[in-house]
């Protein structure tokens, strides 16, 4: 269990062009204390250097999933173990 003084850790996965732009497919991050929602995390991603700034330059173009479920930007990360960032899906 995370406490206010102990930063939560979160698995982050990137797919398609989000993965290509960040240059990594998976990592584990310590969630900053002021990051509450998925949208907060996407904004924070922009501050992590040029690759991440490029990948998250247009947050509206990116979709997210918390623990394998689609979520909107206002979803609270809470106790989720994994978040995925990706473009709108194009399978089928």
């Amino acid at each position: 269990m995370s406490t206010p003084t102990e930063p939560r850790t979160l698995s982050v996965r990137y797919f398609a062009w989000v993965r290509e732009k960040t240059g990594i497919s998976e990592e584990r991050i310590a969630v900053p204390a002021n990051v509450v929602t998925v949208g907060d995390l996407a904004m924070w991603m922009q501050t992590r250097g040029p690759e991440f700034a490029a990948a998250f330059a247009k947050p509206d173009a990116i979709r997210a999933a918390l623990d394998h479920r689609h979520v909107k930007a206002d979803a609270v990360i809470g106790q989720a173990r994994e978040i995925g960032f990706f473009p709108p899906v194009t399978g089928g």
Partner: protein, 150 residues
């Protein structure tokens, strides 16, 4: 009800047989196959890369199948989606819906494809004859198709 995500091809007859052989309550089987076309945006397509989100894909496809079961009278269903590098003419996706009657089977197949297209975490990258790969943009017509079921 089952979903599979893998690189290998599928055989429609085999999959239909697995789903329906010996079950004489089934009167209707609707099937959809999506294939790689040889052209994209008016230019020849050389290959297609299918990426997905392991773990979430299976979870999402199972949720989509569960939703179809609440909306239609289905005896059995099956979704297979290929990943990896595919060539023009290759199969991409197979959806099978078995029911007592035809309208449930056909509507469920239609529904499953609309949901899969807009909800299942797959991404296509197309490589043309210039060797340059480009990620396929999501189509607004797919979102509109989904709205039919709301």
């Amino acid at each position: 009800m089952s979903v599979s995500v893998h690189a290998a091809d599928f055989d429609v007859s085999t999959e239909i047989g697995r789903l329906s052989d010996g079950d004489t309550s089934i009167g209707a089987i609707a099937t959809f196959i999506g294939k790689v076309r040889g052209e994209a945006h008016g230019k020849p397509l050389i290959s297609m890369q299918l990426e997905h989100y392991p773990g979430m894909t299976e979870a999402e496809l199972t949720r989509i199948e569960d939703e179809a079961r609440t909306r239609f009278h289905l005896t059995a269903s099956r979704i297979i989606h290929r990943v990896g590098t595919l060539l023009p003419g290759d199969n991409i996706v197979l959806v099978i819906a078995c029911s007592q009657h035809r309208h449930d089977a056909i509507a469920a197949c239609d529904f499953l494809m609309d949901y899969l297209k807009t909800q299942a975490p797959f991404w296509k990258k197309e490589t043309g004859s210039d060797g340059v790969g480009s990620w396929v943009d999501a189509r607004s017509s797919d979102d509109e198709a989904l709205r039919r079921w709301r």
